[in-house]
C-alpha cells in the first residue's frame, strides 16, 4: 500500500520535473568543481609556459619563446598579457605581418588599451607609416594603462616625438613636443629630454624655454646650460649664448664644441656693428672692417683652387659679387650720411651674399662670425 502511494507520487509531472531539476543541480555542482580545478590547472600551466617564454625572449631565442607564448595562450587564451607578449615577440622576431594581425585582433577587443596601441604604433614605425604611427601613439597617449598610467603616457609621447623626428616629419614633431611640454611635470630630467628633442626638431625658441625651466629647477645642470647656450646660439642671441656657454665651459673646460661656440659668440659680440651701446664712429668702423674682410674672403675664394663651380650652374656668381663689392666700396665713404640710412644694411646684405656664395672655400672662424653677424642683425645682443 505504501509502495503504491510512493509510485503514485513520483509519477506526478511536478515530481518528475523536480527530480530532473535536482539531478541537474547536482550535475552543475559536480561539473562546477571539476571545471574550477581544470581551469586552475590550465592557468598554472599557462603561467609556467609564459615564464619560460619570457626567459627565452630575454635570451634572444625568439622561436622557442613564440612557441611557449602560443602554448601559454592555449591554456589561457584570453590573457591579455600573454597575447601582448606573443605579439611583441612576433614583432621583435621580424614577423611583422603576423604581429600586426595579432595586435589588430587585440586592438579590436580593446581599442583603448595603451599597451596594444603602443605596440601597433611601433609596428607602424617599422613600416614607416606616419599616419598610423601618429594614430596609434595618440591612442596610447590618451588610452588606458593598467599600471603607471602617467609615466607610460609620457614615455609614449616622448617616443612619438622621437619617432616622428626619425621619420623626418619636423612640423609634426614640433607640434607633439609643444603639447608634450605643456603636460610635463616639474621634473628636470623629463624637461631636459623635451628640450633636447626641441633642438632636434630645430625649434630653438621652445628648446631655450625648456632649458631655462630645467635650470630654474636645477641651477647646477650643466647639460641644460649647454643646451640653452646651443639654443640661444642657434637663435642668434649671442649674449645669452655666451652667458650659458661660460657656465658650461666652467663645468667642462675640455668640451671643444662649447669652447668653439664660446669663441664665436665672443667674436660676434665684439664685432657686432648693431650693438646698442656703440658710438656712430665705432659702428661705422666695425662695418668697414666687416666689409673689408668680406672682400678679402671673396678675393681669396676667387683665387682658390678648391673652389669649383656648382654642377649645372652656367654663371660664376663670384665676379658679379666682386663688382658689387667694388661698387659698394665707393658708396661706403658716404656711410653715416643723412641720405644713406639703409647703407649699413645693404653692406651686411652683401657680406651675407659673399659668405653664402663662398662656402665652397673652407670657411675660417672669422667667416663664420661674419655670416652670423650678417644673418642675425639686431638679435645678437639678446
Amino acid at each position: 500500500m505504501q509502495e503504491a502511494t510512493v509510485k503514485r507520487v513520483i509519477e506526478r509531472p511536478s515530481v518528475v520535473i523536480a527530480i530532473l531539476t535536482a539531478i541537474t543541480l547536482l550535475g552543475f555542482l559536480g561539473v562546477g568543481r571539476l571545471t574550477k580545478r581544470f581551469q586552475e590547472q590550465q592557468r598554472a600551466l599557462a603561467r609556467h609556459l609564459y615564464q619560460q617564454g619570457l626567459a627565452e625572449q630575454q635570451a634572444g631565442k625568439f622561436d622557442p619563446a613564440l612557441e611557449h607564448f602560443r602554448a601559454a595562450l592555449t591554456y589561457d587564451r584570453d590573457n591579455f598579457q600573454y597575447q601582448l607578449s606573443l605579439a611583441r615577440a612576433l614583432r621583435d622576431s621580424g614577423r611583422t605581418d603576423e604581429a600586426e594581425t595579432y595586435l589588430i585582433s587585440l586592438w579590436e577587443r580593446s581599442p583603448q588599451n595603451g599597451a596594444v596601441n603602443l605596440a601597433l604604433g611601433r609596428l607602424a614605425v617599422r613600416r614607416q607609416e606616419l599616419d598610423k604611427v601618429i594614430q596609434y601613439y595618440h591612442n596610447a597617449i590618451y588610452g588606458v594603462w593598467d599600471a603607471n598610467p602617467e609615466q607610460n603616457r609620457l614615455n609614449a609621447w616622448f617616443e612619438l616625438a622621437e619617432v616622428v623626428l626619425r621619420l623626418n616629419a619636423r612640423p609634426q614633431a614640433q607640434a607633439e613636443l609643444i603639447a608634450l611640454s605643456a603636460s610635463l611635470p616639474a621634473d628636470p630630467q623629463r624637461r631636459l629630454r623635451a628640450a633636447d628633442l626641441f633642438i632636434q626638431a630645430q625649434d630653438y625658441e621652445h628648446a631655450l624655454t625648456e632649458y631655462r625651466r630645467v635650470l630654474q629647477l636645477d641651477r647646477t645642470n650643466t647639460v641644460a646650460a649647454a643646451g640653452a647656450a646651443q639654443a640661444a646660439f642657434k637663435l642668434g642671441r649671442y649674449r645669452t649664448a655666451a652667458r650659458y656657454l661660460e657656465a658650461a665651459a666652467k663645468a667642462d673646460p675640455h668640451d671643444a664644441q662649447i669652447a668653439q661656440m664660446l669663441q664665436i659668440s665672443n667674436l660676434v659680440l665684439e664685432q657686432d656693428p648693431f650693438s646698442r651701446d656703440l658710438s656712430t664712429e665705432e659702428r661705422q668702423r666695425r662695418i668697414r672692417i666687416i666689409f673689408d674682410e668680406a672682400g678679402q674672403r671673396l678675393d681669396a675664394c676667387m683665387n682658390s683652387k678648391e673652389r669649383q663651380m656648382t654642377p649645372g650652374t652656367q654663371v660664376d656668381p663670384l665676379p658679379p659679387l666682386k663688382a658689387q663689392w667694388v661698387q659698394m666700396r665707393r658708396r661706403l665713404i658716404r656711410l653715416g650720411h643723412a641720405g644713406e640710412s639703409g647703407l649699413a644694411d645693404q653692406v651686411m646684405d652683401l657680406v651675407l651674399q659673399i659668405e653664402q656664395q663662398t662656402t665652397a672655400c673652407t670657411p675660417t672662424t672669422q667667416d663664420q662670425v661674419l655670416l652670423l653677424l650678417a644673418e642675425n642683425r639686431g638679435a645678437v645682443e639678446q
Binding site: I10, L20, F28, R77
Partner: protein, 589 residues
C-alpha cells in the same frame, strides 16, 4: 532514476484520444492524470536533455584535455619520444577497449544516431555513450587525429534515448529523442546551436518537422548555455577581423572552393578505399591497427608537425591569426588528411568534424597566403580565408551545404562573409558530388551493412506534379448553358465518348455521348445541359499540385479536369489513372 513512469491502463481516455485505442493502451498514466500532455512534457524533457548533454560534453572535453596534458604534456614538441610513442600506446589501449568492452563505439556516431532513429526505435544503449566517452577521450588525448564532436553528438543522443526509455515515452517520441539529444551534444561540442540544429535536421532527420524542431532547438540551446556557463562564451577559435576587399577576390574564393572540393574527395576516397579493406583483415590485426595509425601520426609529430595530433582547434586558431606561412599551412592540410584517414579507418573512436575544420582552415589559409603573395592589394585577412575554408570542407566532405554556410556565419558572427562562403561551398559541393557520388555518411552506413535513407538523395529527389502527367484538354468542352441540341451538334466530329461540361458559376461535370443521345431521343433537345445533369460535381486539380494528389481522385471519374488556380473555369488539361501510372512508370525507368 527508477522507472517511475510506468505504463498504466487508461480508465477514461480523453475525448481527442477516443478514436485511437492503440495510443490509449500505450500512454503512461503520467500524461493522462495530469494536464501536462506528452507533447508538452517532451518539450520540457528536451531542455533537460540539453542540460544533461551539456554537462556530459563539458566532462568529455575536460577528460580529453586532461588526457592530452597527462600523456603528451602541456606543449607537445617535435623530436621528443613522448610525441612518437604516446599515440601508439593510446592506440593499443583503445583497440583493447573497443574489441573487448565497447564494440559498439566503432564507427560514426552520426550514423549510429540515424540508425537509432530509423531502425532501432530510438534505442541507443547507455554502454555506447560510456564507451565512446572513455575510448574517444583516450584516442584524441593521445594524439589520434580525430575530433570530439561526433562522440559528443552520440553521447547526447544516448542520454536522450536513456531518459526517454526510463519514462516510457511512446515509440514515436522515443525515436525523436535521439536526434534531440544529438543536437544537444553537437551544439555543446561546437558551442554553436544553430549549426547543430541544422546539421541534425539536414543529416539525421532529413526533414523539417514542426513536431521536432522546437525540441531540437530547445535542447541545443540548453546544452550551449551549460557549456558557456562552465567553459566560457568564447567560440572554439577566436575570429580575426574578416575582410573582403574587392569583388575580384571572389575568384580566389572560387579557387578555394575547387581546391577544398578536391581535398574532400581525396579524404572521402581514401576512407572509402581503406576502411573495408582494414576491416577485412584478420581479427588479431584489429588490436594493432589504431596503434599503427598512432605510429604514423607520432612520426609526423616527431618530425616537426605535432599540430596534426588531436583535434587541433588551437592550431586552427593560430592559422586564422596568420601564425603560419602558406607553405606550412598547405603541408599541415596534407598531413592532416593522411593522419585523419588512418585514425578513422582503423576504427579509432572519434569524430571527423574537427579534422574537417582543420583541413579546411589550413587549405583556406594557404590559398589566402598564395593570393596575398601575388595580389597583396586584393587579399583579405588569412583568417577570412581559413574560415571560408572550414565551410568548404564541411560542404565538400560532410556534404551538408546548409550547415556549412550557417556554421561559418554563426562561428564568425559576421554576415559579410556569406557571399564568399556560399560561392566557395557551392564549388566544393559540386566537385565532391561529381567525383564522390555517395556522401561519406551514406558510404559508411553501407560499409556497415545498414541501409539508412540517404538524406542527400531525399533532399534532391524530384517531385512529380500534375502538369508532368496531364494531357491537353479534349475538345470540345461543353458548357452547361448550351442546349442539348447544340451540344449534340458539337460532339458529332469528336472521336471519343466522354465530354467535360463547364458548370455555372463554377465547377465541372461530364457527360457521355450515349447520355446526350438519349436526351435528344427523349425530345429534350431544347433544354440546357445544366438543367438535365445531376448536381454532383467532378473534383478538379491544379497543374502544380503533386502528382500523388491525383491518386485520390482518378478513381472517382475516368477523367479529372486540371484547371487554372486563377480561373477555375479555365481548363488546362485532363488527367486519368492511366496517365498517372504511366508517369510513375516512366520516372522509375
Amino acid at each position: 532514476m527508477s522507472r517511475f513512469l510506468r505504463i498504466a491502463p487508461e480508465p477514461s481516455p480523453a475525448p481527442d484520444e477516443s478514436n485511437n485505442a492503440a495510443s490509449v493502451r500505450t500512454r503512461p498514466r503520467f500524461f493522462a492524470a495530469a494536464t501536462l500532455t506528452e507533447e508538452r512534457f517532451f518539450l520540457i524533457l528536451a531542455v533537460f536533455i540539453g542540460l544533461f548533454a551539456g554537462l556530459a560534453v563539458v566532462c568529455f572535453r575536460l577528460a580529453i584535455d586532461w588526457t592530452r596534458i597527462g600523456l603528451l604534456g602541456p606543449a607537445p614538441e617535435p623530436h621528443t619520444l613522448r610525441v612518437l610513442f604516446v599515440p601508439v600506446l593510446g592506440g593499443l589501449l583503445v583497440a583493447v577497449l573497443v574489441i573487448h568492452l565497447f564494440p559498439a563505439v566503432r564507427g560514426s556516431g552520426v550514423n549510429q544516431t540515424k540508425a537509432a532513429f530509423y531502425i532501432f526505435n530510438g534505442v541507443i544503449p547507455l554502454r555506447t555513450a560510456i564507451g565512446k566517452f572513455i575510448a574517444a577521450a583516450i584516442a584524441i588525448g593521445s594524439g589520434q587525429s580525430l575530433g570530439p564532436e561526433d562522440p559528443s553528438l552520440q553521447i547526447g543522443a544516448t542520454l536522450a534515448s536513456y531518459l526517454g526509455r526510463r519514462m516510457n515515452f511512446s515509440r514515436e517520441k522515443l525515436r525523436l529523442l535521439a536526434p534531440v539529444g544529438a543536437a544537444a551534444g553537437l551544439a555543446a561540442a561546437f558551442n554553436a546551436p544553430i549549426s547543430a540544429v541544422l546539421f541534425v535536421i539536414e543529416e539525421v532527420i532529413g526533414r523539417w518537422s514542426a513536431g521536432i524542431l522546437g525540441s531540437v532547438v530547445l535542447s541545443a540551446i540548453s546544452s550551449v548555455v551549460v557549456v558557456r556557463w562552465f567553459l566560457g562564451a568564447q567560440p572554439l577559435f577566436r575570429i580575426p577581423p574578416l575582410t573582403v576587399f574587392h569583388p575580384t577576390e571572389l575568384l580566389a574564393y572560387a579557387v578555394l572552393g575547387i581546391v577544398g572540393g578536391f581535398a574532400a574527395v581525396i579524404l572521402a576516397k581514401a576512407i572509402a578505399y581503406l576502411r573495408p579493406r582494414l576491416r577485412d583483415l584478420p581479427r588479431w590485426t584489429q588490436y594493432l591497427q589504431p596503434a599503427l595509425a598512432g605510429l604514423v601520426i607520432g612520426l609526423i609529430g616527431y618530425l616537426g608537425a605535432p599540430q596534426v595530433m588531436g583535434a587541433g582547434y588551437e592550431y586552427i586558431d593560430q592559422a586564422m591569426h596568420d601564425q603560419f606561412t602558406w607553405k606550412v599551412l598547405a603541408v599541415l592540410a596534407g598531413l592532416k588528411i593522411l593522419a585523419t584517414t588512418l585514425s578513422f579507418v582503423t576504427g579509432t573512436p572519434g569524430g571527423m568534424f574537427a579534422p574537417t575544420l582543420f583541413i579546411g582552415a589550413m587549405l583556406g589559409g594557404a590559398v589566402g597566403g598564395i593570393e596575398r603573395h601575388f595580389y597583396p592589394h586584393l587579399t583579405g585577412t588569412t583568417g577570412t580565408y581559413a574560415l571560408v575554408g572550414m565551410g568548404v570542407l564541411f560542404a565538400g566532405f560532410l556534404r551538408v551545404p546548409m550547415t556549412s554556410v550557417f556554421m561559418v556565419v554563426e562561428v564568425s558572427g559576421d554576415y559579410s562573409i556569406i557571399v564568399p562562403v556560399i560561392l566557395a561551398n557551392a564549388f566544393a559541393y559540386v566537385i565532391s558530388r561529381s567525383f564522390q557520388y555517395i556522401p561519406i555518411f551514406d558510404l559508411l552506413t553501407r560499409q556497415d551493412g545498414l541501409d539508412l535513407p540517404s538524406l542527400e538523395e531525399l533532399r534532391e529527389e524530384t517531385t512529380l506534379h500534375i502538369e508532368d502527367a496531364m494531357k491537353p484538354p479534349p475538345t470540345p468542352v461543353l458548357d452547361s448553358d448550351e442546349t442539348v441540341h447544340d451540344a449534340a451538334l458539337q460532339i458529332q466530329q469528336a472521336s471519343f465518348n466522354l465530354f467535360l461540361v463547364r458548370v455555372r458559376p463554377s465547377g465541372w461535370t461530364s457527360i457521355t455521348r450515349d447520355l446526350l443521345q438519349r436526351f435528344v431521343n427523349e425530345g429534350k433537345g431544347e433544354l440546357t445541359l445544366g438543367s438535365l445533369l445531376p448536381p454532383q460535381r467532378l473534383a478538379y486539380l491544379h497543374p502544380d499540385s503533386p502528382l500523388e494528389m491525383a491518386l485520390r481522385y482518378v478513381h472517382q471519374a475516368p477523367l479529372v479536369p486540371v484547371v487554372c488556380r486563377a480561373d477555375l473555369r479555365q481548363l488546362e488539361g485532363v488527367i486519368s489513372s492511366e496517365d498517372v501510372l504511366a508517369k510513375y512508370r516512366m520516372a522509375v525507368e
